[in-house]
């Protein structure tokens, strides 16, 4: 038993995924997200952007929105729980964590997340077992795209 746990702890240390994470990353980072989620990937092309949809094995679906220049400008998620945000937000993760902390200390209560930070928007909604969320870099959203499409 002890050996197994040691082995598993070691694996966690060896995971280098965060270096290549999604939001703000190149389209190639989608593959590292898919690998981490052990999911299947489907890609669709629209006139303004492409959508890379990853279905995980444990009840969460992630969509990554990629500009014609090959940059991930938005991510959306839906499922049983909140996916690994360090993986999905990448370089934006620390900004998210600080923003949530600052916002949540300002009130007591339960409500959807609506975090509007410089260069980053993160929103979540839903209830236990059914969580929707999205994060995007407003400056990188293609002109003409409706934000309602990003989910």
């Amino acid at each position: 038993m002890k050996n197994l746990w040691t082995g598993v702890a070691l694996l966690a240390l060896l995971s280098p995924f965060h270096a290549q994470a999604a939001l703000g990353g190149r389209v190639a980072s989608v593959e590292s997200d898919r690998a981490q989620m052990k999911g299947t990937l489907q890609t669709r092309q629209t006139a303004l952007y492409s959508i890379h949809e990853i279905k995980g094995t444990s009840g969460v679906m992630v969509r990554e929105y990629v500009s014609p220049a090959g940059m991930v400008f938005g991510v959306g998620w839906r499922g049983l729980y909140v996916p690994d945000l360090q993986q999905l937000l990448g370089a934006y993760f620390e900004q998210y964590a600080e923003g949530v902390k600052a916002q949540k200390t300002g009130y007591v209560g339960r409500r959807p997340l609506n975090l509007q930070l410089p260069g980053l928007v993160v929103q979540m909604n839903g209830h236990m077992r059914a969580i929707n969320g999205r994060a995007y870099v407003p400056e990188q959203v293609p002109l003409g795209m409706k934000l309602e499409e990003l989910q």
Partner: protein, 410 residues
């Protein structure tokens, strides 16, 4: 290689767990005579919550009695948030001092913990424990509950905290616990059962004393459970019945009635039944938008919906994150179930800064609202004033003629 190690570790956890909790629960399979009716009415109140000097607006609280299983060693805790948007009882460990509930453990020194991630970016952590839970005259025997507390000796694993805010204390939680009575029996279900295979969701964690936590599968029989589903009777759902409110008030009272169609006081009557999609949502049509991920949630403290025309309160005001129209706006929206049942709801949203400042001691606000993420209308507590709202639990029996649960009705 990676996968094999992980799989065997998880397998061992589930095996250890199966061994560690033998003899839990279970009932006779012969058909007993129906039990005599018991008191199925539990008082609830919007009263600002249990934290001194802090008003938790538009939140309904109740009390629960928690006992060591099959014993008379019990404690009653008040200030428990009534939440139709989550499942299971979660109580601050600090609110149950000295009550030494048995924890869920496995062999090899593994302890099992529950992790809840809320949509506001906060989380709760703590051990899974076994308890008898009593409300009104109803008792849920030997079910799993979540004791909310920070780990001692290690940090909450990143897989649970996920960049969010730790609310494992009374001031941040604004409550002594949360009673989740959403229309599901379990907080995770089959996705967290060992039969699911693959990677365990970040809901349950197995940890050694020094940390080294991994997500873990927990059999459905040991997952944190909706206590109502464990009652010997009146176990197919709840009704929240709040007094009507036309203006802000210092308090608002109501009842949580257990069972649907099981006693004379919990009949469905002429209420409209809305069946739900796979995510326990229905559709709300509002302002030309079809909001397909909409839900009734007493644990949200306002109407939360997307309306770009209503200004939001300033971030440094007394009501950050709520709507602040210059004058009260009257709105309507249509709820539609997957069974195509429809109902039009009229509601109003007032200037939240004015609401909070007009009388500093008010706690109940029928017109409190704020922005929502697109595709969702979160019908929070203000929706419940003046209504009887039914929550029929997935997999439980329903009154004759009603569709299979889960569903909502009002």
């Amino acid at each position: 290689m990676k996968k094999e190690v992980l799989t065997s570790a998880l397998l061992m956890i589930s095996l250890a767990l199966a061994g560690g909790l033998a003899g839990c629960g279970g009932s006779s399979s012969s058909t007993p005579p129906p039990p005599p009716p018991v008191n199925n009415v539990q008082a609830i109140a919007v009263d600002g919550g249990p934290v001194a000097g802090q008003i938790y607006p538009d939140a309904a609280f109740t009390s629960v009695t928690v006992c060591i299983p099959n014993s008379s060693t019990c404690q009653t805790v008040d200030g428990i948030l009534v939440d139709t948007g989550s499942v299971g009882l979660r109580v601050l460990a600090s609110a149950l001092p000295g009550l030494n509930l048995p924890k869920l453990t496995g062999s090899g020194g593994v302890s099992f913990y529950d992790c809840v991630s809320f949509i506001d970016g906060s989380f709760l952590w703590g051990p899974v424990a076994e308890a008898d839970v009593t409300m009104a005259g109803e008792k849920a025997s030997a079910g799993s509950i979540h004791l909310i507390e920070d780990p001692s000796g290690f940090s909450v694993p990143a897989g649970c905290s996920n960049g969010g805010v730790d609310e494992d204390n009374q001031a941040a939680l604004g409550a002594n616990g949360i009673l989740g009575v959403a229309p599901e029996p379990l907080d995770c279900g089959l996705a967290c059962d060992p039969s699911a295979g693959g990677v365990a969701p970040p809901v349950y964690f197995g940890c050694l004393a020094a940390g080294n936590c991994l997500t873990a599968f927990v059999p459905v029989g040991q997952q944190v459970v909706n206590p109502v589903a464990l009652f010997p009777q009146d176990n197919n759902g709840v009704i929240l019945k709040m007094q009507a409110l036309s203006s802000p008030a210092a308090t608002a009272t109501g009842s949580m009635i257990f069972g649907i169609g099981t006693q004379t006081n919990n009949q469905l009557g002429s209420a409209t039944v809305f069946t739900l999609d796979d995510f326990d949502n229905f559709t709300t049509n509002f302002n030309g938008q079809s909001l397909t991920g909409s839900f009734l949630d007493s644990g949200s403290n306002g109407f939360f919906f997307p309306d770009a025309a209503i200004p939001q309160c300033a971030g440094n005001s007394v009501a950050p994150g709520f709507y602040c129209p210059t004058s009260t706006v009257n709105l309507s929206a249509q709820n539609v179930g997957t069974n195509n049942a429809q109902n039009m709801v009229n509601f109003s949203v007032a200037n939240s800064v004015n609401l909070f400042q007009s009388n500093g001691s008010d706690t109940a606000f029928p017109t409190l609202g704020g922005p929502g993420f697109v595709h969702s209308f979160d019908w929070g507590l203000p929706f419940f004033y003046g209504r009887n709202v039914f929550f029929a639990i997935d997999g439980q029996g329903v009154p004759s003629g009603a569709p299979a649960a889960p569903w909502w009705a009002y």
